[in-house]
Symmetry: C2
Amino acid sequence: MQRNTKQREAIAACFSAENRPLTAAEVHAFTAKDRPSLGIATVYRTVNAFVEIGMLVPVLIGGTNRYELSAKPRHHHFYCQKCDRAYCLKECTVSKDRLAPEGFTVHDHELVVYGVCPSCRSTSNGKEGE
Amino acid sequence: MQRNTKQREAIAACFSAENRPLTAAEVHAFTAKDRPSLGIATVYRTVNAFVEIGMLVPVLIGGTNRYELSAKPRHHHFYCQKCDRAYCLKECTVSKDRLAPEGFTVHDHELVVYGVCPSCRSTSNGKEGE
DNA sequence: ATCGGTGCAAAGGGTTTGCAGGGTA
DNA sequence: TACCCTGCAAACCCTTTGCACCGAT
């Protein structure tokens, strides 16, 4: 049975607040403001626990693992090549039929759009926080 | 200027022979038959060099980095969740317009289909362990 | 008082890099 | 011969794990 701790609350809050796929490092950075002692290992363990209970789903884009709230309709993602942030896009527009040829069993699919996000485009900063 | 070595030949041959995105570990395993002394570091360096000269392109799916020949028409990929192999699918069928909302600059996109490949489906071999 | 959660540090995979020696041009 | 390429090992980054302590129930 899971217990409620301040750390878990802080980690869960990140996902609600950002509403986009986050890496463990991003979560760790966000929680550092309120709970500087919260270790990166706790972030990983908690995130994995949240995935197991179905609260988060893994989003594999951009090399590092990301996670987002599972309570969202099917959608795809945008990856900003400047700031390495992932964003959620609107609902899925990919036609489900014939995604793969005969012989392949299709379980799922993911569409990732690469480019530059509005924040990076307007400020032409790069890998900066906010 | 690049030099032709047996190692580089062997590495390039893997991509021609397999015609699908390969990880460094996969390339290393293939070359091991002919050139057991070829180190994994050489695979990484060579693959990165091939990307720089435009011969290979990175394919970021499934957690580990993969690479494929760039001399192929636009297409997407299938990732087998059993054997961890990536395959190339037919040409792109995603409509290019409205991939992202206002404010986002779109450079590229990638559609990944997850499932089980014919080889794993028929023989039920694969990674086992489930 | 339990027993899951946390912090720290060390361990584990994947990838890169430093260095000395080897092979191509 | 010159210089790139290679092998090996150490370094790095991301993620997981061991262990002792903390704290929610």
